[in-house]
């Protein structure tokens, strides 16, 4: 009785899960099939990577500045004057493992995920996706495979770039604006920041990138109902991708080892 009552409520959810599950399965199958759409892959690399540099620069710089500020305040208030220089590793660790992958993921979801949905959604409602099929081209291989691969590769590159900017911004705030001891700050940062911390952030970024692209393509492929429908699908992409990123960020932080050196 209880089951009968619950199932209709959850039916749309099951339907969506089935739909995206099928898309993921077909995408993986098509990673190993030819022809590979090299031109679209290269265009996607440029679109996701090069064209996102300005937004990632601003996000990482201000993320680094504000995190540097709060760590400075924290040390100054709770440990005392002079201890602020020990905040260097915390700033770098927080930025590389959490803040930069998360901020870049959210920004890319807004910039790239929505644009993928808008582009594929417009193709869907103007029958271009059907035309692909009619010309013997698998829409998944043509539209989804190159975009998900490009996003999987480029988002970690953007995060690495963002890490450098963010760490420098945190350093700049503490050393040049607040007059923290540069030598202690740098020594501690280099001593305690591990390569694994950066790699953790890059692993997260690769997964975020792939999720953003698959959500963007999924929503685009199911868009219907003209321009309004494409608009709704675009909004759904940003909401769904952002929620996925936030949940995955916690799960990955929990699942990935905190350190490889045992410190």
């Amino acid at each position: 009785m209880a089951l009968k009552f619950r199932l209709p409520i959850l039916a749309p959810f099951y339907h969506q899960v089935g739909e995206v599950g099928l898309l993921i399965a077909r995408t993986f199958k098509n990673y190993f099939r030819r022809p590979f759409e090299k031109k679209i892959f290269l265009e996607s690399l440029e679109d996701i990577g090069v064209r996102s540099l300005p937004v990632v620069s601003v996000t990482a710089a201000f993320g680094g500045l504000v995190f540097g500020l709060q760590v400075y305040v924290g040390f100054h208030r709770y440990i005392g004057l002079g201890s602020e220089a020990f905040g260097g590793p915390i700033i770098s660790l927080g930025l590389t493992k959490e803040l930069i992958p998360l901020l870049v993921g959210l920004m890319i979801s807004g910039r790239v995920g929505s644009s993928m949905t808008a582009e594929i959604g417009t193709m869907k409602i103007t029958e271009q996706v059907d035309a692909l099929f009619s010309l013997g081209a698998d829409p998944i291989r043509y539209l989804v495979v190159p975009r998900t691969l490009a996003s999987f590769i480029m988002v970690p590159c953007l995060v690495l770039y963002g890490d450098a900017i963010g760490i420098f911004a945190g350093f700049f705030y503490n050393i040049y604006l607040m007059g923290v001891n540069k030598s202690i700050y740098l020594t501690n940062t280099l001593l305690y920041l591990e390569l694994w911390d950066i790699i953790t952030g890059l692993i997260k970024a690769a997964i975020f990138g792939w999720v953003i692209a698959i959500v963007g393509c999924w929503q685009g492929l199911k868009a219907e109902g003209g321009a309004e429908g494409v608009g709704r699908a675009t909004t759904r992409t940003v909401v769904v991708a952002n929620i996925c990123i936030l949940i995955l960020n916690f799960l990955l932080s929990k699942a990935l080892p905190a350190t490889l050196t045992g410190k």
């Binding site: 417009t122 193709m123 059907d130 035309a131 010309l135 013997g136």
Partner: protein
């Protein structure tokens, strides 16, 4: 060559096709007529495998296509060319890339040969020298004709035309009718044409099928259809506002 048996398709609560049966012979031009929204485009999309039926079978050269999986279906689609209602040109590709899309991916032709076929296909639809233009630089009618050039470029055995003359001036529309006839005569192409334009319909059709309430209610030569005793067919072909179709 094409046999459709008891085809059913429903979108939500709306039944579009309900037990449609039709046979189309090799080399024949079959024109399907019917009201807007009666399911003509849905029927075409079933023929090429874009849509899967809820029930029923479609046989192409004896092969049942509704159960084919992706790879097999894609091989089969290479037998088909399809002209979509709005042209459905790929926005990010030039006219030449659009027309040569299928050839570039699935033929062994060298680049020069593909370029020659692209120019020849464009010339056939009266659009010489526009290879470098992008779709947004074309008028609606030109897009449609480029779509037709794309559909015929790789010389398919079956061509599906979704309203080929809509949005094109009468002279160009007639030249497209001539092209449909020429393709049939020269290459023995099987054509399935959806149109509301009865002048085109009578000119190109070997047989005409009337789709009404999800089924084919009458099939015959243009003369048979004109002489039909069905009031539904008579109302449609004469374009009358009053009649059984509009009595609700």
């Amino acid at each position: 060559m094409i046999r459709i048996v008891d085809l059913h398709k429903q979108f939500g609560t709306k039944k579009v096709l309900s037990g449609l049966d039709l046979e189309i012979e090799r080399g024949e031009t079959m024109v399907i007529i019917g009201q807007s929204g009666s399911g003509k485009s849905v029927l075409l999309k079933h023929l090429i495998g874009i849509l899967k039926p809820d029930r029923g079978q479609i046989y192409i050269d004896g092969e049942e296509i509704t159960r084919l999986v992706d790879e097999e279906l894609q091989k089969l689609t290479r037998k088909f060319g399809m002209l979509f209602q709005g042209g459905a040109l790929f926005d990010s590709l030039s006219v030449a890339e659009n027309v040569g899309f299928g050839l570039e991916r699935y033929s062994d032709y060298p680049r020069g040969e593909i370029n020659r076929i692209v120019s020849e296909s464009l010339a056939k639809v009266g659009l010489k020298g526009i290879e470098g233009l992008m779709p947004h630089e074309l008028s609606g009618g030109m897009k449609k004709r480029v779509g037709l050039a794309r559909a015929i470029a790789y010389k398919p055995e079956i061509i599906l035309y979704d309203e080929p003359s809509t949005g094109i001036d009468p002279i160009r529309a007639d030249s497209i009718n001539d092209l449909i006839i020429e393709l049939k005569n020269d290459m023995c192409v099987t054509s399935v044409v959806i149109t509301h334009d009865m002048v085109s319909c009578y000119k190109v059709a070997d047989r005409i099928a009337m789709l009404y309430n999800g089924r084919i209610i009458e099939v015959g030569t243009p003369a048979d259809i004109q002489a039909s005793s069905s009031p539904v067919v008579q109302q449609f072909i004469h374009g009358k506002a009053q009649g059984p179709i509009t009595d609700w």
